[in-house]
Amino acid sequence: MSTLEIKDLHVEVETEAGPKQILKGVDLVIASGEVHAIMGPNGSGKSTMAYSVAGHPKYTITQGSVKLDGVELTQLSVDQRAKAGLFLAMQYPIEVPGVSVANFLRTAKTALSGEAPKVRTWVKEVNEAMSRLGLDETFSSRSLNEGFSGGEKKRNEIVQLELLKPKFAILDETDSGLDIDALRIVSEGVNRYMAEGGHGTLLITHYTRILNYIKPDFVHVFVDGRIVTEGGPELAENLEVEGYDRFVKMAAAA
């Protein structure tokens, strides 16, 4: 049983006009076995939260803490956070020219588990994971994300999720830009990951459609740098009908 505990998280980014506060006190606890969905308007800070938890150098945490099973992540380097069990599927996965997917996956697996995976079983495992996500074998020799379509990049993120098996996964709009079949294929990947047990997912999304495939235990509404309300899956249905208006006004009044 693991927990990811975000407490009073305040985050700034450096802008031309000086530091700008984006996160204004985020509190969130995820236990393994749980899926939490985060929904909120554009620019409300969802990606900022995802990136700052993962340790992106652009973001400065000015207050608060992020603990994974009691270990303070904010004191760790990016790769140490991954080693502690954190995974971030990015809204816009980065292209790395000249580094093949296969080499990247093997290097990551080796770094995370502290030993090189057994060649024979690993190659098979990789090929199977890719084929489950609808990526054929040619992808493993291609440069990481380079020239991948938007949907292929997202699928590749879930391939990594399945192979690297982190304790907690933050999926930042993994469903955006996916066609209908890909949405199902990617969702099944996330569900397989959850079904292995001992894993938790934080799913950032704009659409309730993915929540038909991946059932959230909790839904949080994110407005202006903090969580303004939370509830069960029915909250997402509500948002679909009513939009964020009510919460945006609430946040403005607060």
Partner: protein
Amino acid sequence: MSNLDAATEAIASHLHPTASYNLADHALPTGKEEIWRFTPLEPLRPVLEGASADAELAWSGELPEQVSHAELSKEDVVAAGAQAPFDRVAAVALDHAAQSARIDIPAGLEVADPIVIDAVGRGGTVYGRTLVNVGAGASVTLVLRHRGLANYGELTNIVVGDGARLNFVSVQDWDDGAVHAGQHSILIGKDARVKSVTASLGGKLIRLMETAKYAGTGGELEQFGVYFADAGQHSEHRLFVDHNLPNTVSNVDYRGALQGEGANAVWIGDVLIRKVAQNISTYESNKNLLLTDGCRAESVPNLEIETGDIQGAGHSSTTGRFDDEQLFYLRSRGIPEAEARRLVVHGFFADIIRRIGVPEVEQRLLAVLEKELDAVGLPAANNEEN
């Protein structure tokens, strides 16, 4: 080639110097000239001034029996219609070379294995004059590896016959104090295909003028380069592709990594598309990766277009440090910083290295790359906080 030069009109250009066989046409530079302003002249003094040669490079290598070699005079070079010197070092070398080689690859000869020639310096001032004739329809890979120590000034001409295929690899793998300056010129025959790879790995100063032009329509040039400049090293590649005939193609891609105080790289990419050169296509690209503070890269692509009737012409040039986003992405998958940097640097050069097509040379480059990365003194994997 004189009749070829007559056929293509002379054009006044500020971008590239005019070629001449006559040493008197190449004044001793002051350092203010466009073609010399990036170059530290001091180490070049001997080969610029024409100090007398007091040494030779030891050449070794095995030529297939059909391939002949002989001495080469300045007159031979002129008679062969080879490219005249563009700068003073090449002109001095042409006049002064005590060491010369003419290599003839007969028409139609196909050689599967690379022909590898080693040229090893043991100090001293050396001038070289080389001419390689690749006969029509021949197909060869020629690797020229420079090692050891020398002050080396040279002119190498390669004349590629119609329909021939040449893969030419020049490796500058000198010891630390070496100076190597000069000119490599390729004349590309009708429908010939040339791939050249220039790898400049070590030496105090490397300055190569690399030029190409066409002796017939339909010729194709792919020109790749890799260079590493360490503290105090100067690595300069000045390219000039002369699209002097229609339906010709050139594609240039040079990449360099710099590290350490005073590491210097210069890349000049001149492409001239003459009025007659209709339906040509050209692209040139240069990328520099600055691994540490204190290094400097000049990157100057120049396209001079005299006709609008072409398929395509473009260039790009980038110089930068590690991409933070790439490093973040790799590290977010648990890969430690030092290893993430290694992956990115290997990836940066991978496209070029895999095109060399000579495993020995590819492995040597990868080994030197490893050494470069070690020397950068990347932070230990796990000691950094965010």
